[in-house]
């Protein structure tokens, strides 16, 4: 193992802000994309399902 302690790992040789700022924003954006994707899928399905019901009601005599 390269690191002697957790604090040494977090400090990243004094460059912690840059390293964790990179990985934090990068992984955060990936998590955000996954969340947005899932939310959009759900809302899209609800909308399509609702549209379908409305169209079926309209078609009925």
């Amino acid at each position: 193992m390269h690191w002697q302690s957790v604090s040494e790992f977090l400090a990243m040789g004094g460059r912690g802000a840059f390293v964790w700022g990179s990985y934090g924003v990068g992984l955060g954006l990936i998590a955000l994309e996954l969340w947005l994707l899932r939310r959009r899928q759900r809302s899209s399905l609800r909308r399509l399902s609702r549209l379908q019901q409305l169209e079926r009601q309209k078609d009925r005599p």
Binding site: H2, V25, L29, L45, S49, Q52
Partner: protein
């Protein structure tokens, strides 16, 4: 096997549904392995110290942002040439992920540049052309969403994707063509100038980015397919089935 069978949205939709969890699992496995090697196995760099560990994410994101744009241009050419609707759906499914990786590449590059070069940003050819790529992604997304008629939006987006693709070789070769502050390629076809353990971390992160992009774009393509094909019999049946069950997968 007839690959053209999968150019129909109806046959592609269930195939994509089966591939999404597979690619997602591969992405997670590669990311965990890559980050573990990158943070715990790879030694510090003799010149840069610890800050070089940013490059594992930076290079993976930068490669992916360029590659996704080329794939978008490819699907646009296929869509315009053959008139296949699925090609345009794929182009639109890829764009947000490409834009995200492009932003990550610029962001991590800036945070690496400050301690290494002494500046977050310089207007050198590599950085400027990568910033242009981000604007091309934004332009593509804005244009395809601004046009109401989806078929016209498809064609307009395809033209941006094709024209903008000229920028990708400019980004890639900028470090050779011009005297840039950004370093030359460390990994080229036929050889690498990096220590092998660092290279492994980077390649695993790049693989993770590949699988992630595949999983996310296929999942997004499935939503676009249902929205655009909702008046076809099979899509209506699928909407009725999933809408009733409330399943989001």
């Amino acid at each position: 096997m007839n690959f053209f069978r999968f150019s129909s949205p109806q046959t592609f939709y269930p195939l994509a549904g089966r591939l999404v969890p597979l690619f997602a699992a591969l992405a997670a496995a590669c990311a965990v392995a890559g980050l573990y090697i990158g943070f715990f196995v790879a030694p510090s760099d003799a010149v840069q110290g610890e800050v070089y560990r940013i490059i594992h994410l930076h290079v993976a994101a930068a490669w992916m942002s360029m590659f996704i744009y080329l794939v978008m241009a490819f699907w646009s050419a296929v869509g315009l040439g053959l008139g296949t609707r699925l090609s345009f759906y794929m182009t639109q499914a890829l764009a947000p992920t490409g834009a995200m990786f492009c932003f990550i590449a610029l962001w991590t590059g800036a945070l690496w540049g400050r301690p290494t070069w002494g500046a977050y940003w310089v207007w050198d050819a590599r950085l400027t052309s990568q910033l242009l790529l981000l604007f091309l992604y934004f332009g593509f997304i804005a244009l395809t969403r601004a046009i109401d008629d989806p078929r016209r939006a498809d064609k307009a987006g395809a033209i941006i994707a094709l024209v903008g693709a000229v920028n990708v070789p400019i980004i890639y070769f900028s470090v050779t063509w011009w005297n840039t502050l950004h370093q030359g390629a460390s990994v080229k076809p036929g050889g690498s100038s990096m220590a092998s353990v660092m290279l492994w971390a980077m390649l695993l992160c790049a693989l993770a980015a590949w699988f992630y992009s595949l999983a996310v774009s296929l999942a997004r393509a499935r939503r676009i397919i249902l929205e655009r094909e909702r008046h076809t019999e099979w899509a209506a049946a699928e909407i009725a089935r999933r809408g009733a069950g409330g399943r989001a997968d």
